[in-house]
Structure formats: C-alpha cells, structure tokens
C-alpha cells in the first residue's frame, strides 16, 4: 500500500511551488498590507477603537488629522475594515512585508485628513464624506452635496430652515 504511494510520487514529480523563483498565487480574500484612503475618512476613529493590536494612531493637529498604521504591530484581523462605515480602510492582498531591521519603523501606512473651512462660517471642520451623507440623508442630490461642506452647526441651521 505504502509502496504504491511512493511509486505514484515518483511518477507524479515534485509538487513544489515555483516561489521564490517564480510568482506565488494569492487569493483575493487574503488579508495583507493595509491601505488607507484619507479622502474617505470621517475621523470617527472606530478603527482605532476596534484595533486589538494598538497599531493605529491618530494625531490631531490644528489643520487636520494624521493617521498612522504600523504594520509591525498589526495582526491583519480586518476589524478596522469591517467596522469602517466610510470604507476608508481596507486590507490589500500584498503580503511582501518582510524587511531588514533598519526599515522596522518605516513599515507604516499613513494619511493626512485635512480640515476645511465651513462654506458658511469659515470654521475649520472635517467635511462629511459622500457615503456618510447618503447614509444620513438617505439620498443623493445637489442640496445634500452642498450640506457636506458645512460644519455640523451650520448644517443644522440650514436643515432647520429647509424644513420650516
């Protein structure tokens, strides 16, 4: 019985993958390097809240927010992606993360989320992202798009005026 297996092995030839001398296949669902899209981020910081590994860092400055994710602490669980309503964060299939020690602290994904002045009062604020607006106002229109560039206070006033 066992000799049969050996004979079959001999005839079948190696089952070894080409990698590292050739390309390796990667499934589409693979959870690898994290990518951050600052233009979609609403700075709700849910990703930081759900991150068990303490890999996400937000740094608040007067003119915006700086997002940093360190791949050397990230466990690639994908919770940040799962809980991000704005879909600003997602895990790519890139697994080529090995690096020399000198680059240890460079293994980051970062993004700058700038505050913009409110079109009405000029106060610095974070414009709401389109998906979030769609979620909140259940629709898509020019008017809603305009609301996006207002600070929450002005938005409230505007919405109140519209309703009355």
């Amino acid at each position: 019985m066992w000799q049969l297996v050996l004979l079959k092995n001999l005839l079948k030839g190696p089952a070894t993958e080409a990698f590292p001398f050739g390309e390796a296949t990667t499934p589409a669902a693979y959870r690898g390097r994290v990518a951050f899209d600052p233009s979609a981020c609403t700075a709700c910081r849910t990703c930081q809240y759900v991150c068990a590994a303490g890999a996400i860092h937000f740094e608040e400055r007067p003119d915006g927010l700086r997002f940093t994710l360190w791949h050397n602490s990230c466990v690639f669980c994908g919770m940040c992606q799962h809980y991000c309503v704005a879909k600003a964060i997602h895990l790519t299939t890139d697994w080529h993360l090995s690096h020399e020690q000198a680059r240890k602290y460079e293994m980051v994904e970062e993004g700058w989320v700038p505050f913009r002045p409110c079109l009405q009062c000029g106060e610095l604020m974070l414009p709401a992202t389109p998906p979030l607006m769609r979620l909140a106002y259940r629709g898509d229109s020019k008017e809603i798009e305009a609301l996006r560039h207002l600070c929450p206070k002005c938005r409230q006033t505007r919405a109140a005026g519209r309703n009355s």
Binding site: L6, G13, P14, A15
Partner: protein, 319 residues
C-alpha cells in the same frame, strides 16, 4: 620505500581519503535528490553536501564547558582517519587491490566500528544527557549487529577458503577473485540468506531508518553531535560520508564485485554505489519510520542472526 609511498597515496588520495570523501558526498547528494523526488519535492542541489562542508569550515567552533578539549577535538580526526584507511582496504575490481600491508577483512571490520566508537566518545565528552542516551543506544545497536555480521563474513570466508583448499580465506582480494571465477554471490541462491543479513546490517551500520535511533531528532536532538559545531562538525560529516562509501563498497566486494578492469571498472564500481544508495538508502528512508531501541535490538539480534546461521550451516554442509 615506493611501497610505503604507494600505501600513503592509497590511504590519502585513492581509493581512500579524497576519493572516498568525494564519492561519499556525491552519494549523499544523489540520495537526497532521490529521496526528495520520492516525497514529491525538488530537493537540494546535487552538490549540497559539498556546500555544507564548505560552510562549516567557516563557522566558529565552540567547545562546551567541562568537556575535555583535547579529546573533544581529536575524536573527529580519529574518525576520518579510520575511514580513510578503511576505504583504502576496499578493493575495486580491476582497478585497485587491497594492500596486504593494511590487513584483512577482520581488520576492516573492526575499522568500521571506529566511527561508532568515536561517536559514543564524542557523546560522552559533550556531557549532555541526550548524548548519554545516544551513547547507550549506539552501543546496543552495535552490540546487536556485530555478531550476526561476523557470521555472514565467516560464511563467505569459509566458502572461499574451502575452494582454495584451506579452511578460511580472510583476504578481500581472494573473495573477489573467487567471484570473478565462479560468478557473483548475488546470483547464488545459497548465499541469499547471508545477503539478506548483510542488507539488514547496512542501515543499522549507517544509521538509516528504521535504525536511525541514536540520532533520532525528535527524541535526542541530533544525538552525539549535539555539542559539535563548525569545522569539527564538518569532520564528522566527512566521516559519515566516507563510511557510507566504505560500507557500500564492502557490500559490493562481498556480493557483486564483477567488473571489467581499468577506467570502465571504476565506473562500474561508482555506478553500483549509486544504485545501492538510491535504491537502498533512499527508499528505506522514505518508506518507513523508526523503530524503538528495544524493538531494533530484538530485530537486529534475531533476524540477521538466524539468516547468518542458516547460510553458515548451508555453506558448511555443501562445501
């Protein structure tokens, strides 16, 4: 004087020393490739054993605390030397005759025990408890196969000796000459029990599955060599490579030495070595696991013992 020079050449370069080393390493590289193929792998480059040695030559050597430094470093040299001499004693039909100055088959047989003894001493010199276990295992395996294999040699020696009109022939050259004239023992059913017994001796002596117990990685780490590193470890690797060549060569001389002379004879010899090592060693290693030491001891005492006795009785009765 030229006799002595010739002897030194035989021990150091051909067929001992350098030749045996290269042959042993090539056999090992080839065997690893075959084994990989049987396991559906690509395996290492053919020259991998050479690379390993080259690398070991450049590594640091550490001597464990409390170990007798002199003995610790002298042992591998002793092992390599014994194998170089043993290799010079293996006749290659039509190419090389065993030099009478070195002794007969019994001397060779005891030379073959030296690597095991060296390993045992190496184990006890390192002072690790695992090495101690490896020591006792090596010893019991050796004790188990020593007796039966003497029976096999006796059988052959008597058969050849009787044909010469004497009682016993201990010269390997005579054994070869006999087979050249009357046909190889491999094809003689009378000798098959002895052959089988020798086939069991093979893996037991070389430490190949199912008898790789002293070096069982999962039980006693790397056995006696646990504490060795760098060039000294390299010497041990050389020793075991040469030993493989010697044991296989001995097998060929005892059972199937027939070959034409000259360069063709040398090629025949090398080819036979490769066949034995790929068919025997590689297949054995891939097709079974390891025995427990008590099982191995029992197996080694009983089966080759019975087979050896049978062949001895048959030979005594027929000739």
């Amino acid at each position: 004087m030229p006799e002595t020079l010739k002897l030194i050449f035989q021990v150091l370069v051909f067929p001992g020393g350098l030749f045996a080393l290269c042959l042993g390493l090539c056999l090992k590289g080839f065997e690893r490739r075959i084994r990989a193929r049987l396991q559906r792998r690509v395996g290492p480059p053919l020259l991998q054993p050479f690379f390993d040695l080259a690398k070991l030559a450049r590594k640091d050597t550490t001597i464990p605390e409390g170990a007798p430094a002199c003995l610790f470093s002298a042992l591998p040299f002793a092992g390599v030397c014994s194998m170089a001499i043993a290799a010079a004693m293996i006749p290659i039909t039509g190419v090389h005759l065993a030099p009478a100055g070195l002794g007969d088959i019994l001397v060779l047989f005891y030379l073959l025990a030296i690597p095991a003894i060296v390993l045992m001493l190496a184990g006890s010199a390192s002072g690790s408890p695992f090495s101690a276990i490896a020591f006792s295992r090596e010893l019991s395996i050796m004790m188990a196969y020593e007796g039966p294999i003497l029976l096999v040699i006796l059988t052959i020696a008597i058969r050849v000796g009787v044909s010469q009109g004497g009682w016993i022939a201990l010269s390997l050259n005579d054994i070869i000459a006999y087979q050249q004239r009357y046909g190889a023992f491999l094809f003689d059913p009378v000798m098959w029990p002895a052959l089988l017994a020798f086939l069991v001796f093979f893996p037991a002596n070389l430490g190949v599955a199912p008898f790789d117990i002293p070096e069982a990685e999962s039980e006693v780490l790397d056995g006696p060599l646990l504490e060795y590193s760098g060039p000294l470890l390299g010497l041990f690797k050389m020793m075991s490579a040469m030993k493989a060549g010697v044991v296989i060569g001995l097998g060929i001389a005892l059972f199937y030495p027939n070959a034409p002379g000259g360069a063709l004879g040398l090629m025949c010899f090398v080819l036979k070595c490769f066949v034995v090592s790929s068919l025997g060693v590689a297949v054995l290693r891939t097709s079974m696991g390891r025995m427990r030491i008590d099982q191995a001891f029992r197996f080694l005492v009983i089966w080759p013992g019975i087979l050896g006795l049978v062949s001895l009785v048959v030979v005594l009765w027929r000739y």
